[in-house]
Subunit: 366 residues, 2 copies
């Protein structure tokens, strides 16, 4: 059923809605982030939840990333099948079916996983022992986000000790995502709050060291905080993801990266002078962080997205000549959820389609 | 990479997040809507944008639906490949690539398509003539939604005349979706506004009749208005979609249908007494119409969805024994966009997995 455009065509001949990736901009983003970490004590382990695409992960690794972060076992399985080793699943993996899939995968590749519950530690240990495999395990510590995780200090220490004693498991360190801070608009405030959030974690890591349980890995950070978290002891690695593509939300606070990802749309109707309707609705671009931002249409803004249509209004409708069949590109407000709607990235060089990368882990929410 | 559960297992052994369909409830919904139309002058042509699944469409047709409505060429191609004929694409199909795909498909199955632009009529006619195929064409009329469409009266008449004269095209009637009315909470107000919206359309249809261009098809309606629109002249067929699954939004205004679709989740963390975190975030259940509604957890409500997690708060946390590994089902607030995140429906009969239906048109936004 699926339509595949022929490489070599100009981008505006690709059928729509379609996800476009500008290769050179993408590579500049990859290199810029890699360059930042080149002389830092911490390292980059980019998050694959953003792109779900082995081709992107391989470019990140080639630029110096030490491994790949995943959100789900299914994503890690896709990355492992592409030959990528040293995978961190930055999440709790719970329940017999999923733990079975996790330990199957651990038999073929090196996996790191997070825990925040003593029963889960027992279940992981039993599954590893039964299968003759092992897992490296991080204690998920809540540094203020109030999602998963145990608190710093004694709760984190107790869980580290439990892991260290559990057959089949190796205590490898701490996962501590400051997701509540990554989008604070003011950079100084963001940096200060990052330092404040990680102060108790530093004390916990010192106590672990004294206990003979050094945290080899302390994983944290996102595109909004990579330079703050990445230079904040005791962080050893940063999980930034969105920097490869960027979106209108992160572009506002991270101007050092560029927009490499757009959604190509077709105008399907211009029923009135001031109204333009595209074929790109909520099933082709997400809106939970705001409206998509149209490129190269002065005075145009999205007024609404329905399932299959996007409606734009025009400030100065007389000067905009858009007609049905014309193409418009949009910068998504949230790249991660938008990419998860598509099966492929159309890779462009100087506006010509040069490759198609399958988004192999699209929909791998399990 | 994908994990496929073995039919015969109880639903709570299916890995999560997973889309569950209760077969008997689904079939009651299908039959109830078919029964409504059995003695009405109008017919049911259900919208496949909701389910994107040929197995669902085939049950709708078996119950008496006269054909299937699609939003996109890609969806229609999936339905046609499953042997389903008489497909209405309730949308403008614009641009050479997409018109090429449309006319390719029209060479193998009977297609109806909508237009609202004279240049698009010319392009469709040329493409049909060049390929030696034909299309049945509806004029898309704006009855107040202010998305696509020409206005009732002279603009609609002019376009009908243009279609009737265009080689390769057959004027087949009107598309007039009252999408701005389908969710009005008060049923009486909704019914009155439906009557008001369609009054000018009735006059347009009378004028078409006098012109010797009778509208064989006047297509409209949704789950929120099926009984109002379906009994309102000049409507001949109704495009309702969501009634097969229902969601918490439509359940509030359409209690005669039942919730057949849920998302199965696993609790991955209970870091505090009053906080429960699941593995079901925005990539597994959508939130544009509201939070997912948890089943069988008294006093629980969703507080937030991040990409990969859902966080619930509990009113009476002491009485809720949920632990990591426990399963929770959610009713989505919007079934159509949630289904589009998944590759398969897990079909249950009395809580046992009896079949897996591929959501073959998932992601077919082109």
């Amino acid at each position: 059923m699926s339509y595949e455009p022929r490489p070599g065509i100009p981008f505006d001949e690709i059928d729509t809605p379609a996800l476009l990736l500008d290769l050179e901009t993408f590579q500049r983003n990859v290199d810029r982030m890699a360059h930042f970490f080149a002389d830092k004590p911490s390292s980059l382990r980019p998050h694959a939840k953003t792109h779900k695409c082995p081709q992107v992960a391989l470019q990140q690794l080639a630029a110096g990333a030490i491994g790949i972060t995943c959100a789900k076992v299914g994503e890690a399985a896709v990355m492992a099948a592409a030959g990528i080793t040293d995978l961190l699943i930055a999440n709790e993996i719970v329940g017999p079916t999923k733990i079975g899939r996790l330990t199957d995968l651990a038999s073929t590749t090196s996996l790191i996983v997070a825990v925040d519950d003593p029963d889960n530690v027992v279940a992981l240990s039993r599954a590893c022992t039964a299968k003759g495999t092992s897992l490296r395990v991080l204690v998920d510590v809540d540094v203020g986000m109030r999602r998963c995780g145990v608190l710093p200090g004694e709760p984190a220490l107790a869980m580290a000790r439990q892991i260290a004693k559990a057959p089949g498991l190796e205590f490898a360190g701490i996962l501590a995502y400051e997701g509540h801070l990554v989008m604070i608009p003011d950079a100084q405030e963001r940096a200060q709050k990052v330092r404040d959030a990680f102060a108790p974690l530093a004390a916990t890591c010192d106590a672990l060291q004294r206990d003979g349980l050094p945290a080899q890995i302390v994983s944290s950070g996102g595109t909004g905080t990579y330079d703050m978290t990445g230079t904040c002891p005791p962080i050893t690695e940063v999980e930034a993801g969105s920097y490869v593509f960027m979106d209108s939300t992160y572009l506002r606070i991270r101007p050092e990266f560029e927009s490499s990802l757009t959604v190509l749309s077709t105008v399907v109707s211009r029923p009135t002078r001031d109204r333009v309707v595209t074929d790109t609705g909520m099933k082709a671009i997400t809106k939970e962080l705001g409206w998509p931002q149209p490129l190269d249409v002065p005075g145009a803004s999205v007024r609404s997205l329905s399932e299959e249509h996007g409606t734009l209004v025009l400030e100065d409708s007389a000067s905009v000549r858009l007609r049905p069949g014309d193409k418009i590109r949009f910068i998504p407000s949230h790249c991660c959820t938008t990419v998860n709607l598509y099966d492929r990235l159309h890779v462009l060089r100087r506006d010509v389609l040069v490759d198609i990368w399958p988004i192999t882990a699209r929909g791998c929410a399990q």
